[in-house]
Symmetry: C2
Subunit: 123 residues, 2 copies
Amino acid sequence: MTDPSAPPRFRLRVVFGPEDWMGPGKAELLEHIAQSGSISAAGREMGMSYKRAWQLVEAMNEMFREPLVHSSRGGAHGGGAVLTPAGLAVLEEYRGLEDTARRAGAAHIERLHSMLRDIPDGK
Amino acid sequence: MTDPSAPPRFRLRVVFGPEDWMGPGKAELLEHIAQSGSISAAGREMGMSYKRAWQLVEAMNEMFREPLVHSSRGGAHGGGAVLTPAGLAVLEEYRGLEDTARRAGAAHIERLHSMLRDIPDGK
DNA sequence: GCTCGATATGTTTCTTCGGGAATAACGGAA
DNA sequence: TTCCGTTATTCCCGAAGAAACATATCGAGC
């Protein structure tokens, strides 16, 4: 989850309620599902157990009016999962939020960064 | 930590490295220390153990070039803690970042919010 | 109808995190 | 010099959550 090699500068979680929130992990999971067409493959790519990946998917499917991920069992390759239009919309909205917030707060972040003891890197 | 009564809409963590980050909890702790003049009182007010509060203070003091909290033992009332100028600066910078990011992303958040299954409240 | 790969779900084990208790140090004030 | 309330630090333990393991289910294709 927390990538030790290239740490993200910015983590943003939108909290709607005690059980309902949208954050970086879920967004990344949606992206991997969209790309791989599989929950298990997405989890594997993220170093996340299938169970946890599935739990996150279930949580997202329940918190939004329409499910974000459509999954199917059996069949030619055992099954798979795809993003619904709602899933794609939520993902893009979240990514847009991240970009917007990051750009708007860049000056603040830079100022905080410059106050650190050991600056990890100039850029 | 997660307030059940009035859930915040927005949680923002600036990650500088695996060990170094600044988030809502640390910011709130700084505020309570500034107000109460005591680490233990601040922790108590936040429903946080003294141990944890102190650990967070230590982490902040080490990650920034200058310590954010100056603490002293003994004396008239047993001791206390105050924010250094650096502490005040970091706090204000973080709050500024939060405000800026929240305002900039308000439209995105509102759109995500409207896609929820059960909208907690109209406003 | 058997196989295969992925979804779906339960069970058990393990690790991590934080709380709580216990203790020491400190220094002004009575 | 004794008292007091806070900082500082260590140790033990329980709860929470993730990981690991174990099955069951499904459906196209062979």
